[in-house]
Amino acid sequence: MAKKVKFDIPEFRPYPTVPVLKPGVMKGNGPFKAKPDMQEALGFPGELIDDWHDVAIDKMGELLKKYRSLRVFLDSCMKCGACTDKCHYMIGTNDPKNMPVARQDLFRQVYRRHFTLSGKLFPKLVGAKDLTKDVLDDWYNYFHQCSQCRRCSVFCPIGIDTAEISMAAREILDTVGLGQKYCNEIIPKIYKIGNNLGLPKPALANTLEGLEEDMKDETGIDIKMPLDVEGADILLITPSADFFAEPHIDGLIGYAKVFHQAGASWTISSYASEAANFGMFIGSYENMRKVALRIREAAIKLKVKRIIFGECGHAWRVGYSFLNTLVGPFEFLDTRYPIPQHICEYTYDLIQKGVIKLDKSANDHRRLTFHDSCNVARATRMGDKPGGQFEIPREIIKACCNHYYDMEPDTIKDQTYCCGGGGGLLTDDLMELRVKGALPRMEALKQVVDDHGVTHMAAICAICKTQFAKVLPYYGFEMDAIISVHQLVGDAIVLTTDVKTPG
């Protein structure tokens, strides 16, 4: 049930309504700022530098030369208003600066002032503004109210993607010394230890052994969770939340059972024990590349033939869309398989081939729906055909259970709503934003709960799982109503002991 909170939890809207603007309701200081040592670990100034204005404008100029997206998107918006009611944070907060176009305009007004003739000559006319401290503060606040989910880009007639603008803004903010604590304290942990949680190898080994014992108790079968096994065929790169958080961990158990039943030789790497890549959230190509490079290095060191990604939304974006760009080519891997491959692609393929058998009745106590994670839905693909990222997880779920119901069509697939915690916003100091941003997803969930008795929502993203576990209770749902897709697989899979183990 609803907890005691300092803010109003949005009420479900009985029918679609036109959002009423409440200017300034989400104005504030933004999330906690990163401490100087963490900033410096990423190569950014520790705190706001004295000549921040000039440095910021120079950085903007540099980014305009590096990113066509930025250049085209800043010039091309005709203020048609198509995006104004599409953002989940706008819907949940009604703050007009959470309209995608208004969020972009915080950036665009400065671009116009410094990089366009019309903005230099007639600033008032074209809405150009100098980069004052107030504007900079607005950047910090409102560009940390964007989860980079790309829903606006689906609806924009020009394809303007606010995520590109918010990434650029965050990179400029970092460059002048204004970093966000949550993201910028996590990334150095990867460089130091190998994962976002700062889980060192002995602790990781211990956790995996514990899970092996749990699975032995549950199934009576020796199912392995190998760590740093040189010469394994498959390197599993999964979000570190899978090692300890609920419901993530049951997903990890699901992957292990699938690998076991397929007789696959696989391993986790302690060096690259993280699929998540927060370098993307802060818009830093350099940091994103540095995080991704560990995956390449681990693959070389462990002499694997394939790389498979676990359930994680933006990690799959970096994996599918960027990995080859950032740290490719992967000529040393087995090119008969996609590089990298998603665990859902892998499992689906095994189901198709009849290699793994699933007992649907094992999930008869659950009635399911599926939450398309934003980055998987709108920034990646699975399988050979466009839209495979929607079909493959659904086909897996349907193969695992007897009761599956989709949510409203305009809230799923490429129109899916972000969980409310993506893009580096999954931090307790943004709890109000996270709860409010979850509103449209919660409404859609409520409808299938009421209409079809849905009990669980499955997802394939570590952030979605953590976010929903936290916000579901605010809206009157059970916190364990969110589960991993591979938990369903793990529960339904028919395990045998006489699996052909690779030599």
């Binding site: 959002p19 009423v20 603007l21 200017p23 305009l64 030369k65 590096k66 990113y67 066509r68 997206s69 250049r71 085209v72 998107f73 010039d75 091309s76 918006c77 005709m78 203020k79 048609c80 208003g81 198509a82 995006c83 104004t84 599409k86 309209m99 003739l117 019309s118 008032k124 006319l125 074209v126 809405g127 790309r150 880009s153 609806f155 924009c156 007639p157 020009i158 394809g159 190509y285 350099e286 590349r289 540095k290 490079l293 560990r294 290095e297 869309s321 960027f322 080859n324 760009t325 490719g328 839905a377 709108r378 920034a379 990646t380 693909r381 050979d384 466009p386 990222q389 490429d414 129109q415």
Partner: protein, 254 residues
């Protein structure tokens, strides 16, 4: 040489030059700025021909806008389609002999101006009365609509009410296009015609410095024009290669 004839002839040259040079510069800028990462909004086409189809659907029937908001889509489509027909019809004043397609567009083009005006007024009304769109509008957004309305209204009035010596105007226009410097045919000086021409010249000048850049922009939008094949084909920007892949340190993270 009569003053107005020279004034409009020279303005026309200057406006065309500004339009081509600065507009061309923008297109060049878009073309040479790299898109370092694959960011098509998915599901996206997996082939180049698929991308061509995707872009065609965007620029002909405004597919994304249709999914987004039926009213904006309707008004925008009416305006843009009508504008095309009107523009094609107007070619008759710039070419001799007149092409068949232009002759064909004549009856539709004449009344197309009403559709264009309807679209513009509807878009203006949305901008003024829908709170969200009002919030995001700057004075230039209104001025752009007013400029287009000025063109549409004056043009419609010339066609249906005040009229002008259109034969003489065409003679003027052809002499301008033939670069008969200071030997231009005399321009008719009906007020509505001059208002019409002034607004058109202003629009051409404003084009490369305004949101009208959405016209070339949409073709360069990486979320719409990229092929979804990052696993199959490595895509990397020259600056990224230079920064990260040419130094000896590039193979390790340390």
């Amino acid at each position: 040489m009569e003053f107005w004839t020279a004034f409009y002839a020279i303005s026309f040259y200057v406006a065309t030059l500004i339009f081509l040079v600065f507009g061309g510069h923008k297109v060049y800028q878009y073309a040479v700025t790299p898109a370092p990462l694959k960011i098509p909004t998915t599901p996206a086409p997996v082939t180049t021909s698929g991308v061509v189809v995707r872009l065609l659907l965007e620029v002909t029937i405004f597919k994304s806008l249709f999914r987004s908001n039926k009213w904006i889509w309707l008004f925008a489509l009416i305006f843009h389609l009508a504008l095309w027909i009107v523009l094609i019809r107007h070619l008759r004043y710039f070419i001799d002999p007149v092409w068949a397609i232009v002759a064909l567009a004549q009856p539709f083009g004449k009344y197309g101006s009403f559709a264009m005006l309807f679209g513009l007024f509807a878009l203006l009304a949305r901008r003024m009365f829908v709170a969200r769109i009002c919030y995001i509008s700057t004075p230039s957004d209104y001025l752009m609509l007013f400029l287009l309305l000025a063109i549409g209204i004056s043009g419609t009035l010339i066609s249906f009410v005040t009229h002008t010596d259109i034969i003489q105007f065409k003679a003027f226009m052809l002499s301008v296009l033939n670069f008969n410097f200071f030997n231009w045919q005399t321009i008719p000086t009906d007020t509505m015609l001059l208002v019409h021409l002034t607004a058109v010249i202003l629009l051409m000048i404003v084009f490369p410095f305004s949101k009208l850049l959405h016209v070339p922009g949409v073709f360069f939008s990486p979320t719409r024009n990229q092929v979804d094949n990052p696993r199959e084909k490595r895509h990397v920007a020259p600056w990224a290669v230079k920064e990260f892949e040419t130094s000896p340190a590039s193979t390790t993270s340390e």
